[in-house]
């Protein structure tokens, strides 16, 4: 599935930049967030945020803790119903879909997959089973919604073989093939993070939303993660990435959106964001809070 001899783009920073620069000339959007507002009682966690993520790119969402990044994700993936504004998914050759109007489980079917800031696997099920549950919608249709399968009248066996094959591909892409039959809860932390990404990819999404996938990983694991995300982008899936590890963000993202106190304060290429005084101010302001929180 993934060309093994593809040159790792991680190391060639300059080249990556130039390529993405070219791409942006004819960028099409995959996700459009327009005037999105999310209030919890008196607290406005996301305040009139508008931006667009381009198809085939990695769009990073950064910002200090409590900036509203996870809330933004929860709105996009249907866990919260936004107080105001719109979220639209533009898949290639399809009509745009209003995500903010869909019920939660329809959003994954529309083509948006996500991972969680606190890993949410099915710990008592094996890695392979986790990936098969991710293909539930497809498999369920193949069983004739349960009835045909019990009676043994269906095209289910073939569909299951294909599903296992897809799972196997993602297990090997995430370097988990030898742990396929181990319960997800028994895997080491880094492996659980990768498995969650593999599970999201098994829904065959057009847009993958990752909430702090590098949190808690060591530098080597972060590097592997960055490579994995570039591979996923290489296959044509667009990514929306919340990340605190600036090394990873600056290396792999094509565009960076910065939130602070629920407001969008920057939306630019990584290099431009790095030098933006507003962004620096937001992060400097957070420094003391972090120390307080840890104390």
């Amino acid at each position: 599935m993934m060309p093994a001899d593809e040159p790792p783009r991680v190391e060639e920073d300059g080249l990556t930049r130039k390529m993405t620069g070219d791409r942006r000339v004819h960028r099409e959007m995959i996700l459009e967030v327009a005037n999105l507002t999310m209030r919890f009682g008196g607290l406005t966690a996301v305040s009139a945020v508008s931006f667009a993520a381009s198809r085939g790119e990695i769009t990073a969402v950064i910002g200090p803790n409590g900036a509203g990044k996870t809330t933004l994700f929860n709105c996009i993936t249907g866990f919260y119903r936004p107080t105001g504004g719109a979220i639209r998914l533009h898949r290639a050759n399809e009509l745009p879909v209003d995500l903010h109007l869909l019920p939660g489980h329809r959003i994954a079917r529309a083509g948006v997959a996500r991972t969680f800031q606190n890993i949410r696997l099915f710990p008592g099920m094996t890695a392979l089973e986790n990936l098969l549950v991710a293909q539930h919608v497809k498999l369920m249709a193949a069983t004739g919604f349960g009835i045909g399968a019990v009676l043994g009248l269906s095209r289910y066996p073939k569909a299951e073989r294909q599903a296992v094959e897809l799972a196997r591909q993602w297990l090997s892409a995430t370097n988990l093939l030898d742990r396929a039959d181990d319960p997800a809860g028994a895997l080491p932390y880094g492996a659980q993070r990768r498995l969650e990404i593999a599970r999201a990819m098994c829904t065959e999404p057009a847009l993958l939303c990752l909430d702090e996938p590098a949190a808690g990983l060591n530098p080597r694991e972060s590097d592997e993660l960055a490579r994995l995300l570039l591979e996923i982008r290489g296959q044509g899936t667009s990514l929306l990435l919340i990340e605190h590890d600036m090394g990873v963000v600056m290396r792999i993202s094509d565009r960076v959106v910065v939130l602070d106190h629920g407001k969008l304060i920057a939306d630019a290429a990584p290099a431009a964001v790095q030098g933006d005084p507003k962004v620096i101010a937001a992060y400097l302001g957070e420094g003391d809070e972090d120390e307080e929180a840890e104390a």
Binding site: R106, V133, G146, A149, A180, T203
Partner: protein, 427 residues
């Protein structure tokens, strides 16, 4: 543990025992000589019980050490053995069950116990779909059992339909009520779901009790037709057109018992077969995934409401089948057979057997129901014995006899998953 610690520990246990027994044992109301109630005080017995607890606790801590009482959910030494033996145990149990009526020395009484045990195995397997696989705590399962039983009884009484036509109808009606209850209720979680299902069980019973025109209220329905053998009734008269007459054998009351035994055996096997099959398919995996993490399921596009509803409806359907069988076996039903204690027993079978384990549920039903009947001679003491046994199992094996989960699919070899990793579901 030092002796001083051991004594303190035993003293604490004795204090707890005192707190429990001071009211339960210490005070007793009796009918006095003039017919009024008098309060009898039994402080001697309280002291004796506290003394036993003190000595017992001291003996346990000093002789065995506290380690011996550590709870465990991991695949322990004997579950590992059971797992290995399980491959043999399940077919062995099945073979014994299959030939039971032919084993010499098995009379009518033993077969009746066998029918009872199989009924509870079937109910346990049915509830296991809801509680064990989907992780929905249902305290009102007996409602579906009652709906199945009354469906058959009423359909037979008012429309003269036969058992074999009513059996599927009873299942469908129970499933229908399952969906009807499930629809508003399944958005509740954990404790709330348990309370509402508990209430549902009671509501059904109270309706059956009070809707006298339809159900004959507390007097129940009698004269429910017995099942026929493909149209041949069992009759002591023999003669043309009866079971004995058709096969040219001596009429005997045991024919019907044996037949009923095989009917419930087949129904239980059907339940097991459907469950095992569904477990290896997307629907069953989605149930288990729901039990593990509902939010993750939603993010994967699984419709939580319909998935829960299917589990609820399917569990209810098997409860309905079992109810119809109960009605035809007893030939008489009344709301008294469908009290909360039935739900509690079925749930206890599922929990003791190990949530989600088919063999575990069968063994638990065999031990609990069969054992309960066999030890009838012990009178009230058997309650104490079984209560004690349940406490011991819950202390030592909090996840039930078979606390491990077998994966539904594997690239290589399927290895049991320890109960500590497997979710219990929160509604």
């Amino acid at each position: 543990m030092t002796p001083a610690q051991a004594i303190r520990d035993a003293a604490i246990a004795a204090a707890v025992a005192f707190g429990l027994f001071v009211m339960l044992v210490g005070l007793r109301t009796d009918v006095g000589p003039e017919g009024g109630l008098i309060l009898r005080q039994r402080w001697g017995q309280v002291a004796l019980l506290c003394g036993i607890v003190f000595a017992g606790r001291l003996a346990i801590t000093t002789l065995a050490g506290r380690r011996a009482l550590q709870p465990s959910t991991a695949p322990g030494p004997w579950t590992a053995r059971l797992q290995r033996a399980g491959k043999l145990l399940a077919p062995a149990l099945l073979a014994v069950a299959l030939v039971l009526p032919a084993i010499p020395g098995i009379g009518r009484y033993e077969l009746d116990i066998g029918i009872l045990v199989l009924t509870y195995i079937m109910l346990g397997w049915g509830l296991n779909i809801v509680v064990g696989l989907a992780g929905l705590l249902d305290l009102g399962y007996v409602a579906f059992y009652a709906i199945g039983a009354y469906s058959y009884a009423l359909l037979a009484q008012y429309f003269g339909l036969s058992f074999w036509i009513c059996l599927p109808l009873a299942g469908i009606l129970a499933a229908f009520w399952g969906v009807l209850l499930g629809f508003p209720v399944l958005r509740l979680r954990g404790d709330y779901l348990a309370i509402v299902t508990l209430a549902f069980g009671e509501i059904i019973r109270v309706v059956l009790l009070n809707w006298t025109e339809l159900t004959n209220g507390p007097n129940g329905i009698s004269g429910i037709p017995r099942p026929s053998f493909f149209g041949l009734p069992f009759s002591m008269a023999g003669g043309e057109g009866t079971f004995a007459g058709f096969f040219g054998i001596e009429p005997s009351p045991s024919h019907r018992v044996i037949f009923l035994y095989y009917v419930i055996f087949a129904l239980a096997l059907l339940t097991n077969w459907v469950t095992l099959r569904l477990r290896r398919q997307p629907l069953g995996r989605a149930w288990e995934a729901l039990r593990e993490d509902e939010i993750a399921c939603r993010a994967l596009g699984i419709n939580i409401t319909t998935t829960k509803l299917t589990a609820f409806a399917l569990g209810a359907m098997f409860g309905g089948f079992a109810g119809a069988f109960f009605a035809t076996r007893q030939a008489f039903i009344s709301p008294e057979s469908f009290t909360f204690i039935e739900s509690a027993i079925i749930l206890a079978i599922v929990v003791l057997g190990g949530l989600g384990s088919q063999v575990g549920v069968a063994i638990a039903a065999l031990v609990m129901i069969g054992g309960f009947e066999v030890f009838r001679g012990l009178d009230e003491w058997r309650m104490l014995v079984f209560g004690g046994a349940m406490v011991v199992i819950m202390v030592l094996r909090p996840r039930g006899l078979v606390g491990t989960r077998t994966p539904s699919i594997a690239l290589g070899e399927k290895r049991a998953i320890g109960g500590d990793l497997v979710g219990e579901g929160r509604g």
